[in-house]
């Protein structure tokens, strides 16, 4: 069965390593913070200028001057640092963030990503996404494998205007975990109960499938 948003977030969280600085995008990526495995510590970077983002505040802790990049009220964790947008993107652009998790409309077998602009629809802007994909060492893209019409979002070549070129390493969808390398998607894990055939059917880009594709586990 296809993964829920929470299950996708949970699987992403298993990719975290002790000591990682991580930037989580809006949507499913934000949920990853709820599933950080026991025994490891990661520090969350929010690109509006916060390193060490804590949980949401209690009602009486809400402070208009303490928000994250999604403009939600948050808290600062113990040991946090706060700085300007220029400093924040110096960190990002300079490759100091270990992992970035973000959503997308499309990714392709060459690691290109389209996530910000659908022609003929109103363009709201790229925010920090282009900087994040250009700067991060290691990017995980979270998305549904296909759109609501059943059309694949894992493509030979992105059809929408790009956010970044050749920058995505890993995709975690509601159906599968795939690595992108050498011009192809490599199917590494499938969602519990999802068949390899379904993933093949819903992947338009070049897909490499090994003999035995394990089901995901979540712990």
């Amino acid at each position: 069965m296809a993964l829920s948003r929470e299950q996708i977030a949970k699987r992403v969280a298993m990719e975290l390593q002790d000591g990682y600085y991580v930037n989580l995008g809006i949507g499913i990526p934000t949920l990853v913070a709820n599933y950080i495995p026991d025994g490891i510590e990661v520090i969350l970077q929010s690109e509006n200028g916060l390193l060490g983002m804590g949980p949401y505040p209690s009602a009486d802790q809400v402070d208009a001057d303490m928000i994250n990049a999604g403009k939600e009220t948050v808290t600062a964790a113990t040991g946090a640092a706060i700085f300007s947008s220029a400093e924040s993107f110096a960190m990002i652009r300079g490759g100091h963030v270990d992992l970035t998790v973000l959503g997308a409309f499309e990714v392709d077998q060459n690691g290109n990503i389209a996530s910000w602009m659908i022609p003929k629809k109103l363009v709201k802007g790229m925010g920090g996404a282009m900087d994040l994909v250009a700067g991060a060492k290691n990017i995980i893209c979270t998305m549904t494998h296909a759109n609501k019409h059943g059309e694949s979002k894992l493509l030979t070549e992105c059809s929408l205007p790009l956010t970044g070129v050749g920058c995505i390493n890993k995709v975690i969808t509601d159906l599968a975990l795939l690595e992108i390398k050498d011009g192809a998607f490599h199917l590494l894990e499938r969602a519990p109960g999802v068949s390899v055939d379904e993933i093949i059917a819903k992947t338009q880009g070049k897909l490499i499938v090994s003999e035995d594709v394990p089901e995901m586990t979540f712990s």
């Binding site: 209690s58 208009a64 700085f83 924040s88 993107f89």
Partner: protein
């Protein structure tokens, strides 16, 4: 001490010299850390044909969004302009031009403008619509875009505390774009919550040294919150 007493007591003085067609750089991220009174003054003055450079354009009826009501902005340079129906409408009508700029590139363009760096290279935006019309150059095996810096006729900035020299500190994440905006205005106006005596701010803890600041005014802030999220609701 006249030379360094930058404190003004009226918003008319604070924004004196702002003229139609000028470029205004504004600090803030969404509605966080925005110079509310200075924006209200621009609305009050009715200055038109403005190019506004800011990460966002506020929301309907608050923040920079209020400058849309009388069509005072002719061009917006920003990274994200959602949450604003009037913006959308003026954009579709062709009454408003928008130049979308990646957030980190926008921050660095302001910093570069203030720091006398006319242009810099960045990998951000290579191979995307942002690269259209820009020089792409391969440096050490990777492609980069040449991005020109930004300066403004005015910069409007919101800080927490300042002294009369304009030395200031920002509060929490209300810092955001304010420090860069402060450096990039020919005239930089600072609106603060509190004016303190010189020496109250520890020299090495000052976020923006007064040399960048031309005028300081004490404001009253509503500090509207875009998305109140709390533990109870979300966890």
């Amino acid at each position: 001490m006249a030379g360094f007493d930058k404190v003004v007591t009226s918003y008319n003085e604070a924004m004196a010299g702002l003229e139609d067609g000028m470029t205004v750089i504004a600090g803030g991220f969404g509605l966080c850390g925005i110079p509310e009174g200075l924006i209200a003054q621009i609305k009050h003055q009715g200055t038109r044909g403005l190019t506004v450079v800011s990460n966002n354009c506020g929301v309907d009826g608050f923040g920079l969004g209020v400058l849309l009501e009388d069509k005072q902005i002719s061009k917006m340079v920003a990274s994200y302009v959602g949450e604003n129906a009037l913006f959308e409408q003026q954009l579709l009508n062709g009454e408003l031009e928008v130049e979308l700029t990646p957030q980190g590139t926008l921050a660095e363009k302001m910093r570069a403008g203030g720091a006398g760096i006319p242009a810099f290279y960045t990998a951000t935006g290579v191979g995307t619509p942002v690269a259209d019309g820009k020089e792409t150059r391969n440096i050490n095996g990777r492609d980069y875009l040449l991005e020109p810096s930004i300066t403004g006729d005015f910069a409007i900035v919101k800080a927490w505390k300042a002294d009369r020299y304009g030395n200031c500190i920002y509060r929490h994440t209300a810092m955001n774009f304010n420090p860069m905006a402060a450096t990039a205005g020919k005239i930089t106006v600072l609106e603060v919550e509190e004016i303190v005596e010189p020496g109250e701010l520890e020299p090495s803890q000052i976020h923006t040294p007064g040399i960048y600041i031309d005028r300081v005014i004490k404001g009253e802030f509503e500090k509207r919150i875009e998305k109140v999220t709390t533990k109870q609701e979300n966890q």
